[in-house]
Assembly symmetry: C2
Homo-oligomer: 589 residues x 2
């Protein structure tokens, strides 16, 4: 079902109910861009990967969010699904909400256009959102405004008694006196209100100052903003306290309504967090990062903090890109690009469970032909997941999906473009892939691939992963050649060579050679095994929970994280020689 | 006339002709955003203003460009105009063109939507462009590619003789041998071509290496990219050198055509530069900066370099916002917001000249009702300009527009939000507004406006222009009070006070107290007075002219200019107390 701001608010209860009743939620996001600098190295650690992706994708926006709630119906032994395709766009024009700036990548815009994405609908009808920092600030200012107004009703005029009294020049006094002459005429008249002569803010301040002294209990003064943005003072009949209070309460109602509208789509994400349901995505790492950053709380600089935050917010996630690339699926699935995965899963030995659209709800079918619409991709992801899950039940007709079968796949995020496919293990210790066959080489800037191939030609085939124009990781196909290569190549003034482990400890300034440093306190508190029984404290207003990390007063754009150590990954823009297609393809698969 | 990439290329000759024949060109731009940080101070110098605007607006895009060419027809004594409204959007998907990232500001997107802007049309039909750096890089790579191909035709195979020969493992040798068995079978067959088994880039390299040795004069080998992005090698019949050359020439034609397409809208801006025509804009500073940055060359960090570049590119510009705010117009024109200016100029004492749409061309009329469409705003700007110009002719019916009357207005860019309205004088020395009545005050962070008002209450009214949360410029209404205030307030430990001039020289580390430093070499070469007779060297390919400044290998986003001295303007994000509307309004007008 298409959801824009014109039907979103009515649909909230229905969507929350679907979240509450479902067995799992599949998600997908469409973004305005993917990265600013394509600097992932095939031999990055999970921590390096996170830091790079966080930095390079930070200012892009989720503009479409697909949610598909799957509920297993034990009576009919079928899945019932309801799908929602949300258009998401930041609100502007509310003075309590920041005027968002965001990045677009023209290739992504082109891609979305070619898939039929409607940007006019997005910009006109997109649902707003606030992260918890923005929501807190809004709430704080709104409370202040409401308190001041309540106070004004009590004291008739502004409680601005702490302000000093400004003395007036003769000209100012003449002007203010003429204004109060007009006010007295108004009081004596039958009019309901009277607009005072237009004047600047300083003079308005003087008029308010005078009013506090002389107007009390006689009339009300208020500032109004005209259509042309001019501000004028208007004097009105004194209203009864009861009338003023009624007006105040009506305004509070409107303000709270507007506040809820601004929180918008974040309400849904918070409902998902509170539900603790299993979240399924395909290649979901970037979607998860953006979901947290945009709708919950800005992504922390620190990788361990991110893991803790992500695992707290979404205690059970499953990445179908990971699932389809390991265990028995690895050999049965040639390509796990989403469309190819679906095609494979529609054939033997897989059997798709029965999936129907929930009664009185909308959803996609396999014939919907809406590839790359977030809602449809979420649906397909859910279909693929349920088929793979089905397969795990010894290929038998599904009667009662067994969650324990998912244990090897839970909370493992697939990482694109890494050579040896390590994953991020949320709520667990990250795997450390063996990189004994990898060496670090630094060399003169004018070297080309051929120079490296030449250098290593005595040691068999190599895979070159450029770091910048004067260093690279070299992976040797013949692992037994590594020590010979290291000793043979150690005596040059032109280049220098070291093991991957040596390079890594040099970078991190540690003696500990472990490629991963994901040993945070969170893993001691909650391992992957007990992540299904997350503490119930999550059922609080997320704005007031752990997520309320006013982490780092980050500015909207280009913020810089403080380095937590001596880590200084070289990150130069790829040069021409690195962009030659052969290099990225140079692999033995 | 609406111009998108579907009619742009056919229209180029017509548009160039209109530029060539016109008397002046009025312009207007629609942008994806205006600024990232609103940090202009009311007492900035022109140099500070430029540096801030350049930095804060850099990554926003012009997405619509309005051009209106006005030609005075001496026979009919009327202006003939032709208007063009261009949709502009960066191209992606061409490997020689960068995948642009750009910023959007949600309030600007909202505003454009409310004016009926069609973003789907923009993204689908926008005309591409390249700045001179991008164009040069494209040209360079394309020339290389074409040279290599020409060489290949001469030598049948890649001239890759400098590459070392890679030795093969037994498995690789077996594979390569099997491929060459297939190739021999193909040569013996009747087929026109034969696809070789899919293999990775490394193996393809080995096959090419072998082909150079054994295949010469027997068959051709080429890499083809399939629809699914796979690369396969295809062996074909050896073509005659003549056939290959014909193919090569056809490819060059296609490549050059694609190159011209990518240069796109920049062609038009370059034609304007070469024409040296008078360019008229309303509040045109930002439009001019973006025009140079997006279509010509990245804006220099250095203000004097900018002035030189802008004056070289556009030797005659006229800002109707400036024109309408000075000399005799100042007292006749209340508001110079474009729509208000037009309304004023339609009434006495102004008389609008006769303006008609050029025969066989399209243009707007005053009834077009297309406010904030770039083409319409350009048209209105031209109408306003011609009416004010008309007025300068002693109010008589225009018979022959006199360019010399424009001298007081030429090359002066209006600067928004500065308190004493200095302007940027392109090709001339910037004015230095007297700021003897302004003092610089630094104070504790917890101070509020009231504390400052209190402090200065003995010295009359003040205008406060916050720099950050602990400093501000204070302008005194009573100039004779400045020296008394300075001596009275000089003995505090809580705050410190100095003259504007003292503060400025402290900032710039200069003894020279001049608020402006616009004394660059360009002004010696060409003053405003002789700017109407700019040197003809402009009539060169702009890509090869002065504009070809490979200034600073800037990265796409967030580049940092080297500071040219000790200048370090405090630029903190505005805090809450600065955002209260009264502060920006606190003025005596």
């Amino acid at each position: 079902m298409e959801v824009t701001k014109s039907n979103f608010y009515q649909l909230i209860p229905e969507i929350k109910e679907a979240i509450e009743k479902c067995d799992f939620i599949s998600i997908d996001c469409e973004l305005t861009g993917l990265n600013t600098v394509n600097d992932i190295n095939a031999f990055d650690t999970q921590k390096q990967y996170y830091e790079k992706v966080r930095k390079s994708s930070k200012n892009f926006l989720i503009i479409q969010y697909g949610l598909c709630m799957f509920r297993y119906d034990h009576d009919t032994k079928t899945y019932k699904q309801a799908s929602y395709n949300f258009y998401i766009f930041p609100k502007s024009g509310n003075k309590y909400v920041p005027d968002h700036r965001f990045l677009c990548q023209s290739s992504c815009i082109d891609f979305l256009m070619s898939c039929g994405f409607d940007f006019n609908k997005l910009f006109k009808e997109g649902i707003p959102y606030l992260n918890s920092n923005e929501e807190d600030k809004y709430r704080e200012i709104l409370s202040d405004v409401q308190k001041i107004r309540a106070n004004q009703i009590q004291n008739n005029f502004s409680p601005d008694t702490k302000n000093s009294v400004i003395s007036m020049t003769v000209e100012e006094k003449t002007f203010v006196d003429s204004v109060f002459k007009e006010i007295e005429d108004f009081i004596a008249s039958d009019s309901e209100e009277h607009a005072l002569p237009k004047c600047n803010a300083y003079l308005r301040r003087l008029i308010y100052q005078e009013a506090r002294k002389t107007l009390k209990n006689k009339a009300c003064l208020e500032t109004r903003v005209l259509d042309n943005k001019d501000r004028v003072l208007v004097v009105t009949r004194l209203k009864s306290k009861a009338a003023q209070e009624e007006e105040h309460n009506k305004m509070i109602e409107q303000e709270e309504d507007e506040f809820e509208k601004c929180v918008g789509f974040s309400t849904i994400i918070k409902a998902i967090v509170e539900s603790e349901k299993l979240i399924v995505g395909h290649n979901m790492c970037l979607d998860l990062l953006h979901t947290i950053d945009q709708f919950l709380t800005p992504l922390p600089c620190n990788y361990d903090e991110f893991k803790e935050l992500a695992n707290f917010s979404f205690p059970k996630v499953l990445d179908t890109k990971y699932m389809s690339s390991v265990t028995q699926f690895k050999n049965l699935i040639d390509s796990n690009v989403l469309a190819n995965l679906l095609a494979t899963l529609q054939k033997d030995p897989f059997r798709m469970p029965d999936i129907e659209i929930e009664e009185n709800r909308r959803g996609y079918t396999l014939n919907s032909n809406k590839a790359h619409e977030a809602g449809y991709d979420a649906y397909i992801t859910g279909v693929c997941f349920s088929t793979m899950w089905n397969y795990l039940h010894d290929g038998e007709k599904l009667s009662n999906p067994d969650v324990s079968l998912l244990k090897p796949y839970i909370n493992r995020l697939f990482l694109m473009r890494l050579q040896d496919s390590p994953f991020i293990h949320l709520g667990g210790r990250d795997p450390v892939p063996p990189r004994d066959h990898v060496v670090y080489l630094s060399f003169p800037k004018n070297w080309k691939l051929n120079d490296i191939i030449q250098l290593f030609s005595p040691f068999g085939n190599i895979y070159v992963s450029w770091i910048d124009d004067h260093s690279a990781f070299i992976s040797l196909q013949k692992k037994d050649q590594v020590s010979i290569a290291l000793s043979t190549l150690s005596q040059s003034d032109t280049y220098s060579i070291m093991t991957y482990a040596q390079h890594h400890s040099k970078l991190t300034g540690e003696n500990n050679v472990s490629a991963s440093s994901s040993n945070s306190s969170s893993h001691k508190k909650r391992s992957a095994d007990n992540s299904h029984a997350a503490p119930k404290k999550r059922k609080t207003n997320i704005g007031e929970s752990v997520l309320k990390q006013k982490l780092n007063n980050e500015s909207d754009m280009g913020e810089v994280c403080k380095s937590t150590g001596k880590v200084s990954t070289p990150q130069k823009t790829l040069n021409k020689k690195q962009l030659q297609p052969t290099f990225s393809e140079l692999t033995w698969d």
